[in-house]
């Protein structure tokens, strides 16, 4: 609990927590503006792209924050006080993940209220919830991967690697499109590109994939951090 409060305060004072909370909301506002200018299809596409960008930038915020924590010696200051390294890196994933989840849910509600429903008819509340969670989920593996990069990299290198790496990784998902279920399928749900009878199935599968990838990436980050000299 002491560690959780400490990391939360650090994220807040460095304005990273604010960034995590407002990025999805900015994406939603931009989508509403695009919707008003170019129609609902463009608006939903803008929301999907905005959510993807928010997830990448959120991961970059987490990664650069952890990198600064190590680089400044603050992580060492905690570790010599017998704070387990695993607990430290867990707090650095769990807290931002919670913030991102809350932010995406609020942004999803905002967008859901402002944008017309996709395809024919309004989706049910379960489908909407799954869609929002599936759109939030990619931020988790991205953040865990950012932590793994940050263990040995400066904050600038972490930022470039996370943003550049995410852009490269996005290509196969863009090429795969809505025809296959993949970790980024939540964005296709948001964009209304998945048939109306499948959003829950696709969304749940995408969330499962994201959680699995996040667990693997976090385990890699924790292993690297355990072996790192501070």
């Amino acid at each position: 609990m002491i560690l959780t409060v400490h990391v939360a305060r650090q994220l807040w004072i460095q304005l990273r927590l604010l960034g995590l909370l407002v990025l999805p909301a900015i994406a939603a506002v931009v989508a509403v503006i695009v919707d008003g200018q170019f129609g609902s299809e463009a608006g939903r596409l803008a929301l999907a792209v905005g959510f993807a960008a928010a997830a990448v930038l959120s991961a970059a915020l987490v990664g650069t924050g952890f990198s600064e924590e190590i680089g400044s010696g603050a992580a060492a200051w905690l570790v010599v006080r017998a704070v387990p390294r695993t607990a430290l890196i867990r707090a650095w994933l769990a807290l931002p993940a919670l913030a991102v989840l809350v932010a995406f849910v609020l942004a999803g509600i905002l967008a859901g209220l402002a944008l017309p429903p996709p395809l024919e008819g309004a989706p049910g509340p379960v489908a909407v919830a799954v869609t929002v969670l599936a759109a939030a989920a990619p931020a988790l593996p991205l953040s865990a991967a950012a932590l793994a990069i940050a263990v040995d990299a400066s904050s600038r290198v972490t930022l470039v690697t996370v943003v550049g790496g995410a852009a490269i990784l996005a290509l196969p998902f863009v090429l795969l499109g809505e025809t296959a279920v993949h970790p980024a399928s939540g964005y296709w749900l948001v964009a209304g590109m998945v048939p109306a009878d499948r959003p829950i199935t696709v969304g749940l599968q995408a969330i499962g994939l994201c959680l699995t990838l996040a667990a693997l990436a976090w385990a890699g980050a924790a292993l690297r951090f355990r072996r790192r000299d501070l």
């Binding site: 010696g73 603050a74 200051w77 570790v79 010599v80 017998a82 072996r227 501070l230």
Partner: protein
């Protein structure tokens, strides 16, 4: 500064005869790249000793202390501090018995001096009124009272170093590891701060500038070729009319069998 164990107990003849060991290092080795910085370190430091760790390779003493503190890994060997091994120790037990201050104070700069002492106390399991009392006591003892509520990012290195030392001493550790400490302090302040109270407290200071530790340490250890080449009372330097410098320590290592 409070010390939980009466010093008189540790300065008694019985304790002197038993020579309890506070720091025990066995066959410790670590390579950095292709260089064996530490290559089979064997060291036993008695309780209450004030030890200067110097090295022909200036990286070696610092690395040794950071391995002891759990900040760096060893390729092989064991370290026992105050009867505890880091891997198996209960965190609360470790943090209350072992203190470390690095050359970089490392305290999050967004915290104030009072907050950093409060966090150090909480992580050490010091609660309630005792925590508040000790924080106030340490703020005064380390002359941090005037800037207690100002974020450390607005303070200079002097304040950061004093805060780091205060935070390390707050749990009243039995073993204190100081890696190039207090470099930003004026020499007189540095000496005053490094004369850490507590006869039963064992202090290890890694330094590239042995001469600066005069009056603070009573024992010298020289690491050469990754091994302990010298482990002797500081008085040996006077006996051999050698200065407290790396050259003097190297010469003494060649003289002492």
């Amino acid at each position: 500064m409070p010390t939980s164990t009466p010093d008189a107990l540790w300065s008694s003849p019985a304790a002197g005869r038993l020579r309890p060991v506070a720091v025990e290092v066995n066959d410790l080795a670590r390579r950095v790249g292709n260089r064996p910085i530490l290559d089979g370190i064997e060291l036993a430091v008695p309780v209450g000793a004030r030890v200067l760790l110097a090295g022909v390779d200036p990286e070696a003493p610092s690395l040794l202390l950071r391995i002891m503190a759990g900040l760096a890994r060893a390729d092989r060997g064991t370290v026992t501090l105050a009867g505890l091994q880091r891997e198996t120790a209960i965190p609360e037990g470790w943090v209350r018995r072992i203190g470390f201050v690095g050359s970089d104070p490392g305290i999050p700069r967004w915290m104030t001096a009072a907050e950093s002492l409060d966090l150090a106390a909480r992580l050490s399991g010091i609660d309630g009124a005792e925590r508040q009392r000790e924080i106030e006591e340490f703020l005064q003892a380390f002359r941090l009272g005037a800037i207690r509520d100002r974020p450390l990012q607005h303070a200079g290195r002097i304040i950061l170093e004093r805060t780091a030392l205060a935070a390390a001493l707050l749990p009243d550790p039995e073993v204190l590891l100081l890696d190039e400490p207090l470099r930003g302090q004026a020499p007189s302040d540095r000496l005053r701060l490094l004369r850490i109270p507590g006869e039963r407290r064992t202090v290890l200071i890694a330094s590239r500038y042995p001469a600066q530790q005069g009056g603070v340490v009573d024992r010298v250890v020289l690491i050469r070729d990754g091994r302990v080449a010298l482990d002797a009372p500081i008085g040996e330097l006077d006996v051999q009319r050698l200065p407290l410098s790396l050259r003097g320590l190297t010469a003494l290592a060649d003289l002492v069998p």
